[in-house]
């Protein structure tokens, strides 16, 4: 037999299967509907036993189990996964904030598959050929469903993570006005090229909107700095100068000072002051402010 003929025969067999499969699936669904309350309870019990979804109360767990079960049977019946997909997404939306992990979701879907397979086994154990065919019909569908739910959950989680990353990035670079025409930019944490770029853009925008003349960049919270980041800092200082603002950098740690001098980054043009307080004081001098205690005269 040529290879082509084999492929053709296989296609034929697969195409012939749906009729048989459809009949078996109908029988299967009838079985799942008949025994639904018992199977749901069994499933919920197994979930509790396996200590999955501990973030949810038993009642909630049972309510969700019921809904998922119905969607599951429906997906088996109609062969379309859209409704289940939508439900999986909304379920994920609800449970992700409560700290439900991927392994739990995959675990419960596989448990349901297991519970149903066992019940099928029990029902048809007298007739092995039929059991075999029923399982042949059931398993591909069940696998697809498990896959859909797990992927839906992971996608939703990734979406949440992306959103949070966005939010963190926005939050991590505040440009604050402390006095008329004086901005401070406290930098905390690790600076990567992307963050450095965003930082510079935000600072330049801040300089224009606040009409700042002096900017204090405080890097007390930056643990380490390499040549790339140092050059970004130099660029930020130069770009600010082009907008007419003077930059004072404060809080260079001894480690960073050592590294920068050792690797030979030229920060000669940079205006540096030991700490944030000193930086703000110098900025005030540049702007012509004089801060005195209220009772200085008395």
């Amino acid at each position: 037999m040529t290879k082509r003929e084999t492929v053709w025969r296989e296609t034929l067999v697969r195409d012939a299967a749906p009729d048989g499969t459809a009949v078996l699936l109908r029988e299967l669904i009838a079985h799942l509907r008949q025994n639904q309350s018992q199977l749901r309870e069994e499933w919920a019990r197994r979930i509790t036993e396996a200590r999955l979804l501990t973030a949810m109360s038993n009642d909630e767990l049972f309510a969700e189990a019921t809904a998922v079960y119905d969607q599951y049977v429906e997906a088996l019946e109609t062969g379309t996964l859209e409704a289940l997909q939508a439900y999986a997404r909304s379920l994920s939306e609800r449970i992700i904030p409560r700290g439900v992990e991927t392994h739990e979701v995959v675990g419960i879907v596989l448990l349901l598959r297991d519970v149903l397979a066992r019940s099928l086994f029990e029902k048809y154990q007298a007739d092995f050929t039929k059991l075999d065919r029923i399982l042949d019909a059931y398993e591909p569908a069940a696998n697809r469903i498990a896959n859909t739910v797990a992927v839906g959950f992971v996608q939703e989680r990734e979406r949440v993570i992306r959103q949070q990353q966005e939010a963190i990035r926005e939050l991590s670079t505040p440009v604050l006005q402390v006095r008329e025409r004086l901005l401070i930019l406290p930098i905390i944490g690790v600076i990567d090229p992307q963050r450095a770029r965003q930082l510079t853009e935000q600072l330049l925008r801040g300089i224009r909107t606040n009409r700042a003349k002096v900017v204090v960049i405080d890097i007390t919270g930056v643990a380490a700095m390499d040549a790339t980041v140092a050059n970004h800092l130099v660029q930020t200082v130069e770009a600010s100068r082009l907008l007419g603002a003077t930059v004072i950098v404060t809080g260079l740690s001894p480690e960073i000072a050592q590294t920068l001098v050792t690797i030979g980054v030229d920060l000669g043009k940079m205006n540096t002051v030991g700490d944030l307080q000193g930086g703000i004081e110098q900025a005030e001098r540049l702007l012509g402010y004089k801060v005195v205690p209220l009772d200085a005269g008395s």
Binding site: L204, R208, R211, K213, A239, L242
Partner: protein, 120 residues
């Protein structure tokens, strides 16, 4: 496109209205260094708010204008560089070394006035 140069008290103000060709820049340079003495100006403001691109020739010419005007006895300040332009410039290594810059025309005027008052 010619750059209009206005006289405002003791200062000259050149407002760039659109992107400039190299030729326009050379023309601007010539016009500025001539007018700074004929109009007896003490300071020159070049407003580049409308320039959304600043290449190496443009920035070098601006630096040259500043140095030449200094030799002709006046001060120069460049105002209105846009944040995006400034960012692109420093990435290309263009920093307008030795040239005074300010946020906008108002800032530039107050800088020159202050300098002029303290000199007088």
């Amino acid at each position: 496109m010619e750059v209009p140069v206005l006289k405002q008290g003791p200062f000259l103000i050149a407002t760039v209205q659109a992107a400039l060709t190299d030729e326009d820049l050379v023309h601007l340079r010539k016009a500025m260094i001539e007018r700074v003495v004929t109009s007896r100006s003490l300071g020159v403001i070049i407003d580049v708010t409308a320039m959304d691109i600043m290449d190496s020739f443009a920035s070098r010419t601006l630096c040259e204008i500043a140095q030449m005007i200094h030799l002709r006895g006046a001060d120069t300040i460049i105002v209105g560089i846009q944040p995006e332009v400034a960012f692109a410039m420093v990435q290309l290594g263009i920093t307008l070394e030795g040239v005074v810059t300010a946020l906008d025309l108002e800032e530039g005027l107050s800088y020159l006035k202050e300098k002029f008052d303290s000199d007088a």
